[in-house]
Symmetry: none
Subunit: 409 residues, 2 copies
């Protein structure tokens, strides 16, 4: 079946916002075995929206749109679909009540303009959106399917995964496509490519190597007539990949590094505390992105000056002798975090986020400290000297090091 | 004049590579005063390429494409343009010699397939590409212009900046487009829409209202014959917008809330410290995203348990009496952060990030505390009960509150 993606919003045409939704949906539709032949980006203009929806309906079986479902006058996706289908949109009492209830829960009055988010046409069913006020539209007629989702990526992705994929799967028949992603840290994209590139010459499964914020991902895609056959192709290939990549692999598929580390902490009944300088709280924040992290995360400190570090128990003479940005201070900070908060494990960072040098040390240099009952240690990271990258990479590196330490405890 | 962007490559439709070229070109074309009405992504398929180029030539004055200029059989951009123009492509002797010379410099034999990169049609001129083997095509006929550039972003951007922009500038006359974005916090998208929607009925400037992670953005776009006229349209409209939105506006264009708050702290010579519970370090991390923030950010705490809060100076009786998630404890935490780190201002959060209730309070409820030499106070936030959203929204809310407090100091 042919699928087509339409991204809606004048801001996309002005290049103010990158259209990440289309890339995400394209990769998702490929996994469903759907052939995406067109992606269009179109502005908030009724005539052009009608034009692009009409053409999409002619040439594709499934049309997926994002954006234009907001409450304001320039949100025109519902109007465009209604016009293309030749149907009239009316307010659904049920959706109206749900919207009212949502505003009540948020303790706010509902502006009258929001009511247009409660409209439907006869061929449309509402798709629930627990993260926002705009439900999606699932429209089916004469063998064609249109799915309209909101533009904010968080709202769209949840709706896609929970609501749209299961319904689309029922429509797609014939081939089974299975996917498996191994996530690694510590290799460059080229290194990972050389380690795994020679393994899969048959073309099924295919292998793709991608650089991502949390490391290098290696993705396998297998195609077969039957689920069992595809699963067996993936299983064999994953074993080979794991042999090739060894300890660099930290997770699969939807795993997040902070959740992987969190699971290990729970399993082993251990707790962790942080003391961050150059990462500025990003490690603590990332650890606490995991629901239930209060079970093992004792807390964190962000002592952004030498005095604050000393006040928390770091030996001032170490700082004088080795400088704030040093392996010795990193180790002492990790131990101080552990002591102050009564945690089993302490993690720390001290480094140069940039753009300026610190103590004659160049941006991108970070020491990561780790302490447990057996003592403290540290490791050195060197990252591209761009402030947000330094913070992000050092955080991923520290969480990867935490996972490695936990594997030995 | 109307412009249109075509991104070519099956890998884009599979979602394996994000189409960063289209976003870049869209923002560039807007700066040239060209009105981008369409972006299409299309695979390596001759029939579909011909279709999309033909339609683009009908509806747009300038068509910019990237991709499909490589040497392999699936690189079909040249073939598609030749077919649409009804012209025949032949090898240019001059381009052929240049290509040979390039391979010689690289010390390699030229594969015969590369010769197709040396072809032209009569309406096309070659655009030099010092970074790769594929020259671009500049095609002009009957008032329409087509520009075909290679897909690799490094090659494309150099060609765009050095070769294409100067030539396009000569063609673009008349219109100047200017943009201005006001960023606000505290309003819903619909509320902002209702406050500003009635202001601009002339259609110039146009006004767009967008929900973003850091609040509601209102964007003005003005079109005029002269820069001065466009600037004056924008200036007048901005004044009206600011009157309508009042204190909700915290910044413009590229401003980030943490940088706005940071500038105010610097100007006033004040420092800040944080004590975060439910935001888990995200406020500290966001504040330290700003280069030079060590000048005013003293540090932060993430006491993730009641005991840790008490150890840092929060009165345990307050917690017993009002619960951890309470305005009283939020105020005390802000004051404790200030005292512990010797800062002028303390900010705190305590709330329920979810997914589970805490002390009988529902996910999404957060108290933000603020303390300075005049005392402490707190405010209540209610956000959609999705853990990452709660953390992010509470962080934006706290930074906005910090900015407001700083405006009064």
């Amino acid at each position: 079946m042919r699928a087509e993606i339409i991204s809606i919003g004048t801001e996309l045409l002005l290049g103010e916002v990158a259209d990440t939704n289309a890339t995400y949906l394209a990769s998702q539709l490929a996994l469903l075995g759907l052939d995406v032949q067109w992606v269009s980006i179109v502005g908030d203009d009724l005539e052009r929206l009608v034009d692009v929806f009409r053409r999409a309906l002619c040439r594709s079986d499934i049309v997926i749109s994002t954006g234009g479902l907001g409450p304001t006058a320039d949100d025109l996706t519902r109007e465009a679909i209604a016009e293309v289908m030749g149907e009239k949109a009316t307010v659904s009492e049920h959706l109206g009540r749900e919207l009212q209830a949502l505003f009540q829960r948020l303790g706010r009055d509902m502006p009258p303009s929001n009511l247009k988010q409660a409209t439907l046409i006869p061929s449309a069913q509402a798709i629930p959106n627990p993260r926002g006020t705009a439900p999606g539209w699932w429209v089916e007629r004469e063998g064609k399917t249109m799915v309209a989702m909101p533009g904010p990526p968080g709202e769209m992705r949840r709706m896609w995964e929970r609501e749209v994929v299961p319904r689309l799967r029922e429509k797609v028949q014939g081939e089974v496509i299975l996917c498996r992603t191994l996530k690694s840290f510590g290799l460059s994209e080229a290194e990972a490519g050389e380690m795994v590139g020679h393994l899969f010459t048959s073309g099924n499964p295919t292998v793709g190597v991608y650089a991502r914020p949390d490391g290098i991902h290696v993705r396998l895609v297998a195609v077969a007539r039957e689920h069992q056959e595809a699963a067996s192709l993936i299983r064999d290939a994953e074993l080979e990949l794991r042999r090739a990549l060894g300890d660099y692999v930290w997770g699969v598929d939807d795993d997040a590094l902070e959740a992987v580390a969190g699971r290990l902490l729970m399993e082993k009944g251990l707790s962790v505390a942080t003391m961050e300088s150059c990462t500025g709280g990003l490690i603590a924040s990332t650890l606490t992105d995991v629901a239930g992290s209060s079970a093992y995360f004792k807390g964190g400190f962000v002592p952004y000056s030498a005095e604050a570090k000393v006040a928390l128990g770091v030996d001032g003479r170490l700082i004088e002798r080795h400088g704030t940005v040093s392996p010795e201070v990193a180790g002492a900070m990790a131990e101080a975090a552990r002591q102050c908060l009564g945690a089993d494990i302490g993690i720390s960072t001290t480094g140069v986020a940039g753009p300026d040098e610190v103590e004659g040390k160049a941006p991108g240099l970070v020491y990561i400290g780790m302490a447990d009952s057996r003592g403290s240690s540290s490791l050195e990271g060197r990252y591209p000297p761009h402030r947000p990258d330094v913070k992000r990479r050092a955080t991923v590196h520290a969480l990867f090091a935490l996972r490695q330490r936990l594997m030995t405890l």
